[in-house]
């Protein structure tokens, strides 16, 4: 793996490790300050396992007051702080720095209030995304954003990364489902942005904090809105003889006024790999396969499914299956959700990219990826959240072969640059973190980045909170940007990634 440049280590801080640990033990329960290497080891990486770094210390605060005092102390003593939720992020947003205090928020794991009258849940940040739905589902409610890692990822981390999910075209990402947060700024200030009342007055700090990847504040409480679960959910599984046909079908479904709950496309390589792996019964002869899902009332879903059927047939669909039961619908998805592990079987390693493109550019981008695949002589398989334009090319390579790794890195960067070129974005849902930091200049010019950095300085003048993330350090577009998986083994093999 190429060497990652991080902010300069402050040797004065390194030499004061014992003093800092002792001071922090004066602020919080001493057993919640970890300092020996064995204790620190579990925190050396997040979901982007290619990069590892032991932190100076780990603190595990239990109250907002403790978070505030720790940050105030670190701010006054110029100690860097890296916040961490569940540590499942895929862009290295909570990867430690050698001279940092890693603030692990794991003890903030309680749901504070379920308020059905106002249809919201107030929770501590380290409650998992799925736990919120579990807490309200007996009354027929759920929390809409559903990142694939929802079984393990924390809601605070979702806020930091503005996580989406397969349903984000219809239901939005975290930012659209969030009512309020409590935040502690680097100087220890505790404040609340938003709350149960919608659209708080003044500057939208709630919106600014969402997706700020832990650079502006530490989230200590989250209020999310919950929705009534749809009555009926149905899916269609459609095969197409070409990517172009699939792309046209997607555009026409949207143009016809149907907003699917989820819409996924896989290319032939991925369909085949998935089918071999999970025996999902996919049409392996199709050049592209689409799963489209609608939710709502019975008549509503029926109307949309019927329209989808007509549009698919008009666009030369080679096969079409409508789910007849919930079990069948879940089976359609089971194959899709096994897409990533299926790639792990095809090659020693694969790198999962995460770009965002206009829906209509799918065929063009996949053609370019196919051209690049030949150029770099590395196979690639593609998964596409067609509803919201989020593309996940999976590049297969061998990390033991340095040349193969180098080519894979170049290939990945070329794909992301192309995503930006056609009007898309560097990241759809994994965030920038350390992974795509140096590619930011593909999407933004110096003035854009400078404006963002000025905001950072306004709230954290010493740049102590999660430094080295999101914004370029090298000031050149280095060839970075991927999630690396070796031998099919991710750090958390049980967490679905799709």
């Amino acid at each position: 793996m190429s060497t990652l440049k991080m902010p300069k280590v402050d040797n004065a801080i390194m030499s004061k490790k014992d003093k800092i640990a002792s001071d922090l033990r004066g602020i919080i329960n001493s057993k919640n300050v970890l300092s020996n290497p064995d204790e620190l080891r579990p925190f050396e990486t997040d979901g982007l396992t290619a990069y590892r770094q032991m932190p100076l210390l780990v603190v595990m605060p239990e109250t907002v007051e403790e978070v505030s005092q720790i940050l105030k102390y670190c701010n006054e003593n110029k100690v860097k702080v890296v916040p961490r939720g569940a540590g499942t992020g895929l862009s290295g947003g909570s990867m430690p720095l050698e001279d940092c205090v890693l603030m692990a928020m794991g003890k903030f794991n309680k749901i504070i209030e379920i308020d059905y009258e106002n249809r919201c849940v107030v929770t501590q940040p380290c409650v998992t995304n799925l736990a919120i739905t579990h807490a309200v589902q007996d009354k027929g409610f759920y929390y809409a954003p559903d990142p694939s890692s929802q079984i393990a990822c924390s809601i605070g981390g979702n806020v930091a990364e503005n996580s989406g999910g397969v349903h984000s075209l219809k239901y939005g990402a975290t930012t659209n489902n969030l009512l309020g947060i409590e935040v502690v700024l680097m100087d220890g200030t505790v404040t609340k942005f938003g709350g149960k009342a919608m659209d708080a007055e003044g500057y939208d700090f709630l919106g600014l904090m969402t997706g700020s990847e832990g650079l502006l504040g530490v989230i200590t409480e989250v209020t999310v809105k919950i929705l009534k679960s749809p009555e009926v959910v149905k899916a269609a599984l459609v095969g197409f003889p070409s990517i172009e046909d699939a792309g046209k079908c997607v555009a026409e479904i949207i143009a016809e006024g149907c907003i699917p709950a989820g819409m996924e496309i896989m290319d032939k390589a991925l369909t085949k790999a998935t089918n071999d792996y999970s025996k999902a019964g996919y049409p392996t002869d199709a050049e592209a396969m689409m799963i489209v899902e609608f939710d709502g009332t019975e008549h509503e879903v029926e109307a949309y499914i019927q329209k989808t059927k007509e549009i698919a047939e008009k666009n030369n669909s080679s096969s079409l299956k409508i789910s007849k039961s919930n079990e069948e619908r879940l089976k359609f998805w089971a194959g899709r959700k096994a897409a990533f592990p299926a790639c792990g079987v095809l090659a020693p390693d694969y790198m999962c990219m995460d770009g965002s493109i206009p829906r209509g550019k799918l065929a063009e981008v996949l053609n370019e990826i196919s051209r690049l695949s030949k150029k770099y002589n590395l196979p690639v398989a593609n998964a596409f959240h067609a509803g919201d334009g989020n593309l996940h090319p999976l590049i297969m390579f061998d990390a033991n072969d340095k040349e193969s790794l180098r080519k894979c890195e170049e290939f990945g960067a070329d794909i992301l640059k192309y995503c930006v070129k056609v009007g898309g974005a560097l990241t759809g849902e994994h965030g920038v973190g350390i992974e795509k930091r140096e590619l930011m200049c593909e999407a933004f010019n110096d003035k854009d980045i400078q404006q963002q950095l000025t905001i950072k300085v306004a709230l954290d003048p010493n740049s102590l909170l999660n430094p080295g993330k999101v914004y370029p350090i090298l000031r050149k577009c280095a060839e970075e940007g991927r999630v690396h998986v070796h031998g099919g083994k991710t750090k958390f093999p049980d967490i679905p990634r799709f």
């Binding site: 009258e117 106002n118 249809r119 989406g164 984000s168 930012t175 659209n176 709350g195 149960k196 009342a197 919608m198 708080a200 007055e201 003044g202 500057y203 939208d204 700090f205 919106g207 600014l208 997706g211 700020s212 009534k228 749809p230 009555e231 143009a255 006024g257 709502g296 009332t297 019975e298 509503e300 029926e302 949309y304 965002s356 206009p358 829906r359 209509g360 959240h385 919201d388 334009g389 009007g423 898309g424 974005a425 560097l426 990241t427 759809g428 994994h430 920038v432 795509k436 930011m440 999407a443 933004f444 003035k447 854009d448 980045i449 400078q450 404006q451 963002q452 000025t454 300085v457 306004a458």
Partner: protein
């Protein structure tokens, strides 16, 4: 740069004039750079339909963006439209109509309130105020539909954030920050806005009912049901006469619930909703598509407050608090209606002074909400805080303001003293 912009940018700017009406981004940059250099504050206006909202402030120069207009790019199949900030909302809606699409956040038209006739203003103004209509609780606010923007900061530099794709988590989400900032952070030049298909049909269930408590009960049950309403309002008795519609068979106070979607589904959900709300003993009407649209347009246009002489406040609170808040403020000779399914009170006050105002603010705060002064008499406007802010957020706002507009030349004092 288009040919037209190139030609415009070649004309040198006469800086002695007090009102600038640029038609190109280059002109805007030149104006701002000049103001930055000479410390000259600028009042920024679009079509001035909402410029009475906010604090009074004085600027030597005015930037009139009404000439900076036009649709740059509209991709119906990609569900976005990219426009210049001075573009009239009316023009955007007409263009979207051609493809059966809409701005789902239903921007309020404040023209009826301030001038007695429709004036929905410019898109830049709509974004800068961030006031969304009745669909708010279902689809989000204006800010939830801004995919990206381009603007000029207080130093005259062009900045951008976001893009035209829905999923975009690259860097800080400045599109949110500039929404509702009343032109105090940046001069918006281009906006990329998410658009959505219009529903196949829209119908409205109207329940004759003059009682607030009962209305909130209907609204609460409806919004928590799987019938998925997209609008929920309560008008007390005194506003009943404002809705003379063929389909409306009763007068007086009413609770209205809108259901949208494919025709079969709408009928099915309306039936279900009637059952769930146990409406057998109630007098009800169903507004068919056209009349339903008229009803909701009148609501978003605040037509019951047309040419209002007195004061209008916008009170946002969690739904659970609405009954108590109304009970506390009704002694102040108010007329009100409730939108957002129970979370938004629009209330006119015949008598309003700083003392009453601070009482109302206190009530809203106690009930976890806030108020915005939309229309207030001039005497009061000079002395009252239009927006409310606590000291911590004021401090943060000050820093954010400086990061965009270091010399405080954009709409200084429009939101708060010193910002």
């Amino acid at each position: 740069m288009s040919m037209e912009e190139k030609q415009n940018s070649q004309t040198s700017l006469d800086f002695n004039q007090n009102i600038f009406k640029p038609t190109s981004r280059e002109e805007i940059i030149e104006i701002v750079k000049n103001c930055y250099k000479k410390n000259i504050p600028l009042e920024i206006n679009g079509l001035k339909s909402k410029n009475k909202i906010g604090r009074n402030f004085q600027c030597e120069k005015t930037l009139d963006l009404s000439g900076y207009k036009g649709i740059i790019d509209y991709k119906p199949e990609e569900l976005y439209i990219k426009v210049k900030s001075g573009t009239p909302v009316k023009e955007i809606i007409e263009e979207l109509d051609k493809n059966n699409q809409q701005l789902a956040f239903e921007p309020n038209d404040f023209g009826y309130l301030f001038s007695g006739k429709s004036d929905s203003g410019s898109i830049g103004g709509v974004v800068s105020c961030n006031f969304a209509g009745s669909r708010r609780f279902k689809v989000g606010s204006v800010r939830d539909h801004i995919l990206g923007f381009q603007g000029i900061n207080g130093k005259g530099e062009t900045i951008k954030s976001g893009g035209t794709v829905v999923k975009n988590v690259t860097g800080y989400d400045l599109s949110k920050l500039i929404s509702g900032s009343f032109g105090t952070l940046t001069i918006l030049t281009e906006l990329s806005i998410k658009v959505l298909p219009k529903p196949e049909t829209s119908k409205t269930l109207v329940i004759k009912n003059p009682h607030l408590k009962k209305a909130l009960d209907f609204l609460g049950k409806a919004l928590s049901s799987s019938t998925d309403p997209s609008g929920g309002v309560f008008y007390p008795d005194y506003f009943g006469k404002n809705f003379v519609l063929n389909d409306l068979t009763h007068d007086g106070g009413l609770t209205a619930l809108r259901i949208e979607g494919p025709i079969n589904s709408v009928d099915q959900r309306l039936n279900r909703l009637s059952k769930e709300l146990s409406l057998l003993d109630q007098e009800i009407s169903i507004l068919e598509s056209e009349q339903s649209n008229i009803f909701w347009n009148r609501t978003k246009n605040l037509e019951v407050f047309k040419s209002l002489k007195s004061n209008l406040l916008r009170i946002v609170i969690p739904m659970s608090e609405t009954l108590q808040v109304i009970q506390k403020i009704k002694n102040f000779e108010i007329k009100y209606f409730i939108d957002w399914g129970g979370s938004l009170i629009w209330a006119s006050f015949d008598q309003l002074n700083t003392k009453i105002l601070s009482e109302i603010k206190e009530i809203a705060k106690k009930h976890q909400g806030y108020i915005t002064l939309i229309k207030v008499e001039e005497d009061l406007k000079a002395s009252a805080d239009i927006f409310t802010i606590d000291p911590i957020k004021y401090k943060i706002s000050e820093k954010i303001k400086r990061s965009f507009d270091p010399k405080r030349i954009f709409n200084p004092g429009k939101m708060y003293t010193g910002i």
